[in-house]
């Protein structure tokens, strides 16, 4: 009986100290970043850790979804959006450290089709053809890729006629997957997403001057508990090493 009591108290003590130790361990930065940055950011984060920096944990998704989560109090240290609109939303609500906000990257819009598709798109107007039944893009009302795509098609006078073909998706990667699986004939994604996928090909690249200006603002979230560490990582993201990685993946450095 005494043996059992000793054993129990030993286990409890062990568990408690393990819990305490884990909370006292090194800083873990939570970065909420746009889905299109998934692969590049992961690589940069790994590099940072290897170079002796803090551990970085990512939450990738549609910038609109992430912004909403931060609004509801999700514990984020950094926010990287795929458009200024979502960052403005949080900034206005006082949820970002405005002084830290910096737009580091840009991207290009492309129209992708399944790799073996015979579809030819020489201009966005070709999307009107019967061969294109459905076009995937992020939800045009909130997800940046959708917002950009809609703005572009509006500027070309095509949106009204194409709207019925649009399949809104959760985020840019879902739009990509829809094309990869042949469930839509074409989709709007960022050039960087198209480069990553082996199952799609770029049918048309929206020229930089022709389309909307894609911009990725980076900022430290106001509610962060790791201010110094967050600023440090943000600085790193703007460093030559990090930007070089982004360029490798096809992002344009501003």
């Amino acid at each position: 009986m005494k043996m059992k009591k000793t054993l129990t108290s030993f286990i409890v003590a062990f568990l408690l100290s393990a819990l305490w130790l884990s909370s006292v361990s090194a800083v873990e930065l939570k970065v909420f970043a746009a889905a299109s940055l998934t692969d590049a950011m992961r690589k940069v984060g790994a590099m940072y850790e290897k170079a002796g920096g803090d551990k970085v944990v990512f939450n990738f998704g549609a910038s609109s979804t992430l912004a909403r989560q931060i609004e509801e109090g999700a514990p984020a240290d950094l926010f990287v959006s795929a458009d200024e609109i979502q960052a403005d939303k949080l900034d206005k609500a006082g949820l970002l450290l405005h002084d830290t906000r910096v737009s580091l990257l840009s991207n290009l819009l492309v129209i992708v089709v399944p790799k073996e598709s015979k579809l030819v798109i020489q201009s966005p107007g070709d999307l009107l053809g019967d061969a294109v039944k459905r076009i995937s893009m992020g939800e045009p009302r909130t997800v940046p890729i959708g917002v950009y795509a809609k703005a572009y098609l509006v500027s070309k006078g095509l949106w009204a006629r194409l709207e019925s073909k649009v399949v809104p998706t959760e985020n840019v990667r879902s739009a990509l997957a829809a094309v990869e699986t042949w469930n839509v004939e074409a989709g709007f994604v960022y050039r960087t997403d198209a480069l990553i996928s082996r199952k799609v090909r770029i049918a048309y690249t929206v020229p930089a001057g022709d389309g909307p200006k894609v911009s990725y603002p980076f900022a430290v979230v106001k509610g962060t508990e790791n201010l110094a560490a967050s600023k440090k990582f943000l600085e790193y993201l703007g460093s030559k090493d990090a930007l070089g990685i982004f360029e490798q993946y096809g992002f344009a450095v501003k």
Binding site: R134, E139, P168
Partner: protein, 223 residues
């Protein structure tokens, strides 16, 4: 307000259609499970129960694979009938059907098991074929439980989200169900609209579950 009504009617219609699809399959299956022993029965029972236990998006992913244009069923339909499932209203009905199927079979089975096999046996000795026994004895006595089961499955279909959003998306006017639209409104920051849909969803769920419970309390007549 217009949009809201469209969403509500579309959801009700899709759920109803999904019931029409799964009832003719679920009832014979429930009977086989309730009354007969056969090889592989436990495996079939487990497979039927899977959508009930698996994360809905996981089920949705499987459906995406099978019903997509490159999938087993999807490619067949696309090639021979120029018919697509994914991202159309058919995907909504499919998702609702698959996700509420386990609940339906389960409820139907319980309803059928509630009918005394001795009654069925005596009916047989009176010269009735198994089919006649089913329609004149089993079904009438299980009717309340069956309706309760359908109502419950219908309620489940009304609230389905995970698989639906994956294979049907949220195409305004085409595949917007109550649950999926609520999610979108939250994304858009239109909380008022979202709460309106939530209130509607709760009302439907409340009525459906209450009705199902009330029917389930069949009056047992002792003979």
């Amino acid at each position: 307000m217009d949009e809201t009504w469209h969403i509500v009617w579309f959801t009700l219609g899709s759920a109803l259609l999904s019931m029409v699809v799964i009832l003719p399959i679920g009832l014979p299956l429930a009977w086989l499970l309730a009354r007969k022993e056969w090889p592989g029965k436990s495996i079939v029972e487990t497979i039927i129960a899977l959508p009930l236990v698996m994360p809905p998006v996981a089920t949705g992913l499987i459906l995406l694979k099978v019903a997509g244009r490159r999938g087993f069923i999807g490619s067949f339909l696309h090639e021979h009938f120029d018919m697509d499932i994914i991202f159309t209203w058919r995907a909504v009905v499919l998702a609702l059907a698959v996700m509420s199927f386990p609940l339906l079979v389960r409820s139907l089975r319980v309803a059928l098991e509630g009918v005394s096999p001795r009654l069925e046996g005596v009916a047989r000795t009176l010269g009735a074929s198994p089919l006649r026994v089913f329609f004149t004895v089993t079904l009438p006595l299980a009717a309340r439980g069956i309706i309760a089961g359908v109502v419950l499955a219908f309620a489940r279909a009304l609230g389905e989200f995970g698989a639906t959003v994956l294979i049907a998306g949220n195409i305004p006017g085409r595949t917007s169900t109550l649950a999926v639209s609520t999610y979108l409104y939250i994304q858009l920051g239109q909380d008022d609209a979202a709460w309106k849909l939530v209130a509607i969803s709760i009302s439907f769920a409340f009525v459906a579950v209450w009705l199902s419970e009330w029917l389930g309390r069949k009056q047992r007549v002792t003979v």
